[in-house]
């Protein structure tokens, strides 16, 4: 019995689907206009989520290579930017020594990351320069941690002042007017340096566009005295990372003379760094998606409006249907299907538009920024979710008009002109 009912319902849904399609086709222009609201909203949501997700994926994959036994120490930033760039109270060499002496710390590596002026072939460019520490432990740790490999030429030796190595992009693309080669000379903040090596692709687009030199060399060029942008501490094998973090925090607080919870520095494990970045991205994505949702709601109201109009226009038709045997549930189903269809077709177009949009952003970003960081990602759950959601918006928006249609009395509906 149940089976027969189920198969009847199934067949009805199929038939009514055809009826609904016929009705929508009959009012092509209006159907299109109604769907615009939905598909703009869905397109915005899909592209925002896919770009947000893509950025998160890229960041996660880069950071997961870093290992979890590392601790990253930076001064608190006033604004966004590379580590140390806007710190009120930057880290210094003293801080480094305090950290190095902390219990559980095996070794430390210091880094500077600075925007510098490059002059090459009488043209001026601004790019990031990063440093290698001038001690072999720190340097080896850093090279191993970031998996730096030389593709052409050699690494810079400790103590070398006017030699640099450059990221892969400088050799692969005309980043500075033309592709660079080992032996090329250029100047950093007016000081001439020579390229002795080219790094193999690191997989991190930031590094592939960075030039590298010794810490002391950069310190001299831009007169940084003893400030440090970022300190990476490696914990000894047997130590608990969280415990070491607390020790470093305590020691730095004492040295810098700040109270607990009012630190002007940050001590994070790689794991924490990933999750805090992930959280920021999630929040930003959520806010943007929330805004895009407004468009979907407006689209839903558009569907409600269209369906009310349809009920008014087709009152007589509803009367005829009822006279020839349509039950309330049949009328309800037909109208719900129409509004659901408006929703889902809008959704399909929206998803396609959204994919196209985020792919475009990805390509533009890759060309303009040379960064592969923005990579659109389309997990199936996003596509299916968006379609399901658009169908639901359609069906829910159509519920009230459909109920109104279903409740019409046959005799009243038939007498409508």
């Amino acid at each position: 019995m149940y089976k027969i009912m189920a198969s009847k319902l199934n067949r009805r849904i199929k038939e009514y689907f055809m009826l609904a399609v016929a009705n929508l086709f009959h009012r092509k222009l209006r159907s299109w206009l109604t769907m615009i609201g939905i598909f703009i909203g869905i397109a915005a949501v899909v592209s925002l989520i896919s770009l947000g997700q893509g950025m998160k994926d890229a960041i996660f994959s880069q950071f997961s290579a870093l290992g979890s036994d590392n601790i990253i120490i930076q001064a608190k930033q006033a604004t966004f930017g590379p580590p140390g760039s806007s710190a009120a109270n930057p880290l210094t060499k003293d801080d480094r020594n305090i950290i190095k002496k902390s219990r559980g710390v095996e070794l430390v590596a210091t880094r500077l990351i600075k925007a510098v002026q490059l002059d090459f072939d009488k043209k001026t460019f601004f790019r990031y320069a990063a440093t290698f520490p001038d001690d072999s432990d720190g340097r080896n740790f850093l090279i191993e941690r970031f998996k730096f490999k030389i593709e052409k030429g050699r690494f810079i030796e400790i103590g070398e002042k006017n030699k640099i190595i450059v990221g892969q992009n400088y050799a692969a693309e005309p980043v500075l007017d033309r592709e660079l080669r080992v032996g090329d000379k250029l100047s950093i903040n007016k000081k001439e340096v020579e390229i002795v090596g080219i790094l193999a692709k690191t997989g991190n687009p930031q590094y592939d566009r960075t030039i590298f030199l010794n810490e002391e060399a950069l310190r001299e060029i831009i007169n940084l005295e003893d400030r440090i942008d970022i300190i990476i501490a490696k914990t000894s094998n047997e130590e608990d990372v969280e415990q070491v973090v607390e020790t470093i925090k305590k020691n730095l607080r004492n040295h810098r003379n700040v109270e607990k919870d009012k630190e002007d520095f940050e001590v994070q494990t790689s794991q924490q760094l990933i999750s805090s970045l992930g959280t920021i991205l999630t929040i930003v994505t959520a806010v943007l998606v929330g805004i895009a949702m407004i468009s979907i709601i407006v689209g839903g109201v558009g569907i409600t409006n269209t369906m009310y109009t349809a009920v008014l226009e087709r009152t007589k038709e509803i009367g005829i249907m009822k006279a020839i045997g349509a039950r309330n549930s049949d009328v309800l189903l037909i109208f719900l299907m129409e509004s659901g269809l408006l929703g889902i077709v809008g959704g399909i177009i929206g998803v396609c538009l959204g994919i196209a949009l985020s792919k475009t952003v990805e390509i533009i970003a890759a060309n303009a920024l040379g960064s592969e960081l923005i990579k659109a990602s389309f997990p199936p759950v996003l596509i299916i979710g968006a379609l399901l959601f658009s169908f639901l918006v359609g069906a829910i928006s159509g519920t009230s008009p459909a109920i109104q249609a279903a409740k019409l009395k046959p005799v009243d509906a038939l007498n409508q002109e």
């Binding site: 009847k8 067949r11 009805r12 038939e15 009826l19 016929a22 009705n23 009959h26 007589k316 038709e317 009367g319 005829i320 249907m321 009822k322 006279a323 020839i324 045997g325 349509a326 039950r327 309330n328 549930s329 049949d330 009395k409 046959p410 005799v411 038939l414």
Partner: protein, 230 residues
């Protein structure tokens, strides 16, 4: 004794217009028996349309009972009534009342969909009926591509879709020229004679009413007189 398909027993229908009560029907009783051809006649405003709605179970009385195959329709749920109506009663309207977005064939098929007929059955049946009304060559046209007479023939075909026990025709020739009108009437007569279909026809045209076996005259919401032909 042929069974009674539709019975109206002392049916009243009262409308309220502001504070005024308007009694469209004032205690009508009539029976439609299987195989009959009944005409309901009356001037406009006599209540014949309201009576037609009652006979077709499209409306419920304010007072009195309407029986469809012996069952009081007041005891049926609206959905149940719709299903029974779809199976037992075929409607033909003055203004054809076809669905404009559907082709002639689809219009004929619609009642069958509502009764869950399978696709093969439907296609076969629709073709068969459309052949009966001589419209197989126009079956893929939409109503607005058909003449009035053709549209009414599609409506007749639709009314026959479920082999109903009774066909209700409300001024079926009202919107047609006399030639198309007489074609429609001849189809109804043929149905009645060859298939034994029960037919109830509402009209204000004495001439057309005389095709029926029995004429019920309505005036002021009451049956004024009954006339048996032949």
């Amino acid at each position: 004794m042929p069974e009674t398909i539709i019975e109206l027993n002392n049916v009243w229908k009262t409308y309220y217009m502001g504070n005024n009560e308007v009694h469209a029907l004032q205690g009508i009783s009539l029976k439609v028996k299987k195989g009959e051809f009944v005409a309901i006649m009356g001037p406009s405003g006599s209540g014949k349309s309201t009576a037609m709605n009652m006979i077709g179970c499209l409306d419920v009385p304010s007072k009195g009972e309407v029986y469809l195959s012996g069952k009081d329709i007041m005891n049926m749920s609206e959905s149940n009534l719709a299903q029974v109506r779809g199976r037992k009663i075929g409607f033909i309207f003055q203004k054809f009342n076809l669905i404009n977005t559907l082709t002639a064939k689809e219009n004929v098929i619609l009642p069958m969909i509502l009764q869950d007929m399978t696709k093969q059955e439907r296609e076969l049946k629709a073709y068969e009926i459309l052949k009966l009304v001589d419209l197989t060559d126009r079956m893929n046209h939409r109503p607005n591509e058909l003449s009035g007479g053709q549209q009414q023939r599609v409506a007749i075909a639709r009314s026959m879709a479920m082999n109903p026990e009774v066909i209700l025709a409300d001024e079926p020739t009202g919107n047609l020229d006399s030639k198309s009108g007489s074609t429609v009437i001849s189809f109804l007569k043929k149905l009645h004679k060859e298939k034994g279909t029960t037919i109830v026809m509402v009209t204000h045209d004495e001439h057309i009413a005389h095709n029926a076996e029995r004429i019920e005259y309505i005036k002021d919401g009451k049956i004024e007189k009954v006339k048996h032909n032949k």
